[in-house]
């Protein structure tokens, strides 16, 4: 009873890491604390479910449809809903409070729409549910595939951010939005781009998660919460931190669920969060001083 939860935990942790990377972009670069973040994940899961059952589209091809769509929707959300708040905000704290409130409202709107369409029932679909043997442990092929895709997407994002001009601009804005303007970076465009990228990442997470987990219209909040905790744990704006913290969270949850009780996973998550807050509030890899 060690290898199996280990593999499951790594898969789950990979999903958390991917989702948290998007959130850390939105919060670190665009400075928007997005409480409706997980709703995009659920919407993407439902979109892929619908494409798969109605049109017979392979969920992995669904990625190519859903992710760009989420990117555009997130970009529009930023331009239409959040930019007025950015303009209105006098300080960074004021923007934080306003964005928390606005996206909290958005959470209920999006969740409400999905509840009207799909109801509160749990959904899942069967895609590549073939047992595969890895190191003597049987695991469903869709989980391994999801993990592989998450790794590829995460790596691509990391390289994009560290090796390209546009990525460097985004990181510059994350470090200091005022000074970034001095080196001719359009901060608002960069923020919109980071917010949209975050939306695309969480949609990718939603598609991958839907391949092996059951989901309903209400679970977005749980993903938002876990992503927030991972972001804080890894240090805001820190991609590698998000990866490590996501894996820690996924592994802890799986081991608690297998060895102790599935009903206590959230308690485990919160215990980790509490310890981080008490010991290292700047995050595992964050710089101190904020």
């Amino acid at each position: 009873m060690f290898l199996e939860p280990l593999l499951t935990g790594i898969t789950l942790g990979g999903m958390y890491a991917l989702v948290a990377m998007g959130l850390t972009l939105q919060y670190g670069v665009a400075r928007i604390m997005n409480l409706s973040y997980g709703e995009i994940l659920v919407a993407a899961a439902f979109a892929v479910l619908w494409l798969f059952t109605a049109a017979g589209l392979n969920p992995l091809l669904g990625l190519a449809v859903v992710v760009p769509a989420a990117f555009i929707v997130s970009w529009l959300i930023y331009r239409i809903l959040l930019l007025p708040l950015v303009r209105r905000a006098k300080t960074r704290d004021a923007l934080e409070v306003d964005s928390i409130l606005a996206t909290f409202g958005l959470l209920f709107v999006v969740q409400g729409v999905m509840l009207v369409i799909f109801g509160g029932a749990y959904y899942s679909y069967s895609f590549l549910a073939i047992p595969v043997n890895v190191f003597g442990v049987t695991i469903a092929a869709n989980r391994l595939l999801a993990l592989a895709f998450a790794a590829v997407i995460g790596l691509a994002l990391y390289l994009g951010l560290t090796r390209t001009r546009a990525g460097t601009a985004l990181r510059a804005v994350a470090v200091d939005p005022v000074s970034a303007q001095l080196v001719a970076i359009d901060v608002r465009a960069a923020a919109a781009m980071a917010f949209a990228l975050g939306g695309g990442l969480v949609a990718a997470g939603g598609v991958l998660v839907s391949m092996f987990l059951t989901f309903n219209a209400n679970i977005g909040v749980v993903f938002t919460m876990k992503a927030l905790i991972v972001v804080i744990m890894g240090g805001v704006g820190n991609m590698l931190g998000a990866l490590v913290a996501g894996l820690i969270l996924g592994l802890t949850e799986t081991f608690v669920a297998t060895w102790i009780d599935p009903g206590l996973t959230l308690a485990a998550t919160y215990t980790i969060f509490l310890v981080i807050l008490l010991v290292r509030p700047q995050g595992l890899f964050g710089r101190s001083g904020r």
Binding site: M33, A102, I229, I232
Partner: protein
């Protein structure tokens, strides 16, 4: 329009006495409406008590409310009523103290994130406790508490919240909190123990929410964790407080009255679209009237004063 203190006191006493007579004249529907008005008044005012001056957005109202409800569900038939209330109060304050000590010494974001999932965490813990230890998920509450008594208790609690609010405003703690809300760094520099002030107020605010839940519990005859810790409650309280305005003690009340009536109407007519509609209403408030009705009124009266 400044009234002298005795006039204010007599006026308030008369108002409370008048409100206390409501159960004698109102029919069942109106009384239950009055109870929800008082319920939300307590919750929204208690919310604004902490979040107004400090500007820390708490999303955990229902965590404390639910603790109150569930304490009554578990202990209501075993112990005497005042003792049950006292235990609920103790539990609520204990949880608030832990949350406050862990997050309030840091910046506001940590607090928001922690409160965002707190209700869900408590709900899961209660569910786990009930399933594994007491083996009863969902409880029937048959208490000898009449609707009239619930109303009177809530009215008493409402008076207490307002008295607490007035006293805090006039105390050193109130002044300290306003400085914290304006600039926390300055507050620390002039020697305010910001963490202690914030934690104290958060615990106070949470204790009112817990008591409110405990008093409201006999309204349901069946309680399970999903009912007690319904996230929509936190959301409703937040909207009401923001619509009314959080910088004045009476502010939330201005939001509670119209929105309780609106929610009642929406729930009766569009039960399936309820969460969409309140979400839209909330966003309208955030965008259009960020200072709330109280802020709007003040701006209007100030402008009038300047013109004359």
């Amino acid at each position: 329009m400044m009234l002298s203190l005795p006039v204010k006191l007599i006026g308030t006493a008369a108002l409370v006495a008048l409100l206390a007579c409501v159960p004698m004249v109102a029919d069942g529907y109106r009384l239950s409406l009055a109870i929800s008005l008082l319920n939300y008044t307590v919750l929204a005012t208690a919310w604004a008590l902490f979040s107004g001056p400090t500007r820390y957005v708490s999303l955990a109202t229902v965590a404390f409310f639910g603790i109150g409800v569930y304490t009554v569900a578990v202990l209501g038939e075993v112990l005497a009523w005042p003792l049950v209330l006292l235990i609920a109060l103790g539990l609520g304050m204990f949880v608030a103290l832990i949350v406050g000590l862990a997050t309030l010494r840091l910046s506001g974001v940590y607090f928001v994130i922690f409160t965002f999932g707190l209700a869900e965490l408590v709900r899961q813990l209660v569910t786990w406790f009930e399933v594994n230890i007491t083996r009863t998920l969902g409880r029937y509450v048959f208490l000898d508490v009449t609707t009239d008594q619930i109303y009177w208790q809530l009215l008493g609690l409402t008076v207490l919240v307002f008295v607490a609010g007035i006293l805090i405003r006039r105390s050193r703690l109130g002044l300290a909190l306003r400085v914290i809300g304006d600039d926390e760094t300055v507050a620390r520099h002039i020697g305010i123990n910001t963490t202690a002030a914030k934690v104290a107020l958060f615990v106070l605010s949470a204790s009112f929410m817990t008591l409110c839940g405990a008093i409201m519990a006999p309204r349901w005859s069946y309680i399970d964790p999903a009912i007690a810790f319904n996230p929509v409650t936190s959301f409703q309280v937040l909207i009401m407080a923001l619509l009314g305005g959080v910088h004045r003690l009476y502010g939330p009340l201005l939001g509670v009255v119209p929105l309780t009536l609106l929610f009642e109407f929406l729930l009766a007519n569009f039960p399936n679209h309820f969460s969409i509609l309140i979400g839209i209403a909330f966003m309208l408030i955030v965008y259009a009237i960020p200072q709330g009705i109280a802020g709007l009124l003040e701006k209007l009266t100030k402008r009038k004063g300047a013109a004359s």
